[in-house]
């Protein structure tokens, strides 16, 4: 174990300390902003170092408090978890800067925004904990940390629609956590351990019936969190009502933590093909049902929530194939999708600010009003739709290759579904483009009056377009000088779109990384030996 890897718990501890500091500084929003952004940058730097170290070495384990596994809590850094850490924290940092930009622009100094920073840091800590955990119960704790933070963020401000959505979201999440806890209890009862490396050995010795039941319970619990059909109904219902930055970070991270947990369950704890057919059917249905839902929407945020569900199907697709190629494609796709989906939600927040509404019935002419916004939407949208040469295309290509290599009839059905859903995603994205950006505002079915009114006075190109009309009064309460597209928000979105493009450019090395990671994960021995020591695996 290298000395730097033993700093891995800091990826959880730093955001927690940041949350505490941000909470103390709740009356000093300026310092609070500086503190939270600094802490997240530090965390990102640490995680980038971890990824660089993990790049050409196997999994490394850190025993917390000096307790030896399988008794103590263990954190494991391998390629997959390090990659997830880096991607998730960079996305969180971009969202934090975006949210700060929004708060500053609206002059919202002592509103709910002051509680936003500490809660956001706790969310990041929970996500990092879940990615690093080498222990089933610690994974549960990580989930609870991030979920509890997400309940607060979801209901920020406590308005009617948010409370309504928050109730659904909280109850569904609590039920899935309860299932997870019950599954942990049963697994402990059956094997006497919750350490994942230890479980990997001991679960294999169980009666197949018992093992399948435990496997299913974990999959259902994670399936709710990852929003896999038929457990996905809660997501489009609850996500769109939250504030734009919150929806963005939820869409990017929370479901992917569920996918991450599913990948770990499938590869480490329950290898083999018992439930692969079921997962393939679930993947195909998730893709189809999600995208059909998206095509029926007029609200951009709801539309994006449905495409989110649909694209979870792609990740399950690669997981269900469970060959090294499929797993590698899933890992790449998760990293790609976190960045792209978050940037699209951030852009939709900007569209809502600029156009006054997020409904594509009422938008129009945005490409003319703000060409920059058009570019910021167009790149990730094409990326999501899988247009070459973007990373979305590369990820889907990897998945399709894996499907064809497997060659079973069900795999071909999945390949066909994947191509079809990719086209339908493009259709949904192009529909938004044609309506919100391309046509004239007057052609909208029900043009937003605010859009029409501000069109004449605010056609300047660029970022800081004042919304103030002739009378000099803005439409943001308490701040007549609010800018429509504040540089903080636009800067963060540009950064995230840039990261999405970087994923395209560096797709080769990333695919190599995820391929070696996938092979090691299918082999399982490196992970188990990193935790339990050499010679822990006999066969």
């Amino acid at each position: 174990m290298t000395s730097v890897t033993s700093l891995a718990p800091l990826a959880v501890v730093l955001p927690f300390l940041g949350a505490a500091a941000a909470f103390v500084l709740i009356r000093h929003p300026r310092i609070q902003r500086v503190v939270s952004i600094t802490v997240l940058t530090l965390t990102l730097a640490l995680e980038a170092t971890l990824l660089a170290l993990a790049w050409d070495s196997g999994p490394q384990a850190v025993n917390l408090g000096g307790w030896l596994p399988p008794w103590g809590i263990v954190m494991v850094v391998d390629k997959f978890s390090a990659l997830m850490l880096v991607v998730s924290t960079s996305v969180s940092l971009a969202v934090l800067i975006y949210a700060t930009g929004q708060g500053v622009a609206d002059g919202d100094e002592d509103g709910p925004v002051s509680i936003f920073h500490p809660t956001f840091m706790i969310l990041v800590a929970g996500v990092s904990n879940a990615f690093l955990s080498g222990d089933l119960f610690n994974l549960y704790v990580g989930f609870e940390i991030l979920l509890t933070a997400s309940y607060v963020l979801m209901t920020l401000g406590g308005t009617g629609p948010r409370i309504r959505a928050g109730v659904t979201y909280a109850v569904v999440s609590v039920v899935s956590s309860m299932l997870f806890l019950i599954a942990i209890g049963m697994i402990y009862g059956a094997t006497g351990t919750v350490n994942m490396a230890d479980l990997a050995i001991k679960l294999a010795e169980l009666d197949p019936g018992t093992r399948n039941m435990l496997h299913l319970m974990l999959l259902v619990a994670f399936g709710i969190k990852a929003a896999v059909f038929p457990l996905s109904f809660w997501l489009p219902d609850s996500y769109p009502t939250a504030p734009a930055p919150v929806t963005a970070v939820f869409a990017g991270l929370l479901t992917k933590v569920g996918v991450y947990a599913m990948v770990r369950t499938e590869t480490l704890l329950f290898p083999g093909e018992q439930l692969d057919a079921m997962l393939m059917v679930a993947a195909a249905l998730t893709m189809i049902v999600g995208i059909l839902g998206a095509l029926a929407q007029t609200d951009i945020k709801r539309l994006l929530s449905f495409t989110l569900v649909s694209h979870i199907g792609y990740m399950v697709f690669g997981l269900a194939i469970s060959t090294a190629v499929g797993l590698a494609a899933t890992m790449f796709y998760v990293a790609h999708h976190i960045t792209i989906q978050t940037s699209l939600f951030l852009v939709s927040g900007l569209i809502e600010r600029r156009g006054g509404t997020a409904s594509i019935d009422r938008l129009g002419g945005l490409a003319r009003l703000s060409p920059l916004l058009g570019v910021l939407y167009f790149i990730p949208a094409m990326n999501l739709g899988g247009i070459p040469p973007f990373s979305g295309f590369l990820g889907k290509l990897g998945l399709l290759q894996a499907g064809v290599e497997l060659g079973t009839p069900l795999a071909y059905v999945l390949v066909g579904t994947g191509v079809l859903v990719s086209l339908l995603t493009l259709l949904a994205m192009a529909r938004v483009w044609n309506r919100a950006f391309w046509r004239k505002p007057e052609d909208a079915e029900f043009p937003d009056p605010v859009l029409l009114a501000t069109r004449s006075s605010a056609t300047e190109v660029g970022t800081a377009t004042a919304v103030a009309d002739d009378t000099g009064k803005g439409r943001f309460p308490g701040n007549g000088e609010a800018t429509l597209l504040p540089s903080g928000m636009v800067g963060a979105t540009i950064g995230l779109v840039g990261i999405g493009l970087a994923l395209t450019i560096f797709a080769g090395p990333l695919f190599d990384l995820s391929h070696t990671a996938a092979e090691a994960m299918l082999e399982r021995a490196p992970y188990i030996e990193a935790v339990l020591g050499e010679g822990a695996v006999d066969n």
Binding site: W71, F137, V141, E144, T148, Y151, V152, T155, G158, T159, G160, P161, R162, I163, R164, A165, G166, V167, T168, A170, V171, V174, V175, M178, L181, I182, I184, G185, M186, Y188, G189, V194, D237, P240, T241, P243, A244, A296, Q297, T298, D299, K301, R302, E352, R353, T357, S359, D361, E445, F446, P449, V450, A453, T471, K473, G474, R475, F476, P477, G478
Partner: protein, 167 residues
Amino acid sequence: MSVNFTLLIVMGGLFAAGVYLLLERSLTRVLLGIVLLANGANILLLNTGGFAGLAPLFDEDIPAEAYNDPLPQAMILTSIVISFAITAFLLGMIYRSWMLARQDEVQDDIEDRRVARQSSYDVEDDSEVPLETSEFSGPDNLDFSGPGNLDEKDETPGNRAPREPKR
């Protein structure tokens, strides 16, 4: 592994009652259902520790089999703390929901019904916006982070009456 039969019966009862309450439409009952489920899960964890043994304080003279398994109890402690926090938060949220809607029930998704109608146009909603945008008079309550004005208007009727244009 020996199992305490009484605890198993209690656990089953808690799970059954919890699931039943969870399926109710009243939010308070849903919360009670969650509390019962959490306690059922705690008893399940307690069960996995096996029979009630000695407190796990190490003594050389006592054989290892005589101790109780301390790990499930540590897990129960964690899970009690978590369910306490969640219960407190849900109570707060249900109270807020009752304050806003004056009903202790799961509410329907308005956007869903709107999608069913296939249009986001609303005569009442749209008629009053031009009055405000023509003058941009005073602070209004257009919430740009919310899903739309439709729902807000529902909570606070009268709040959105057209204002006097001021110069």
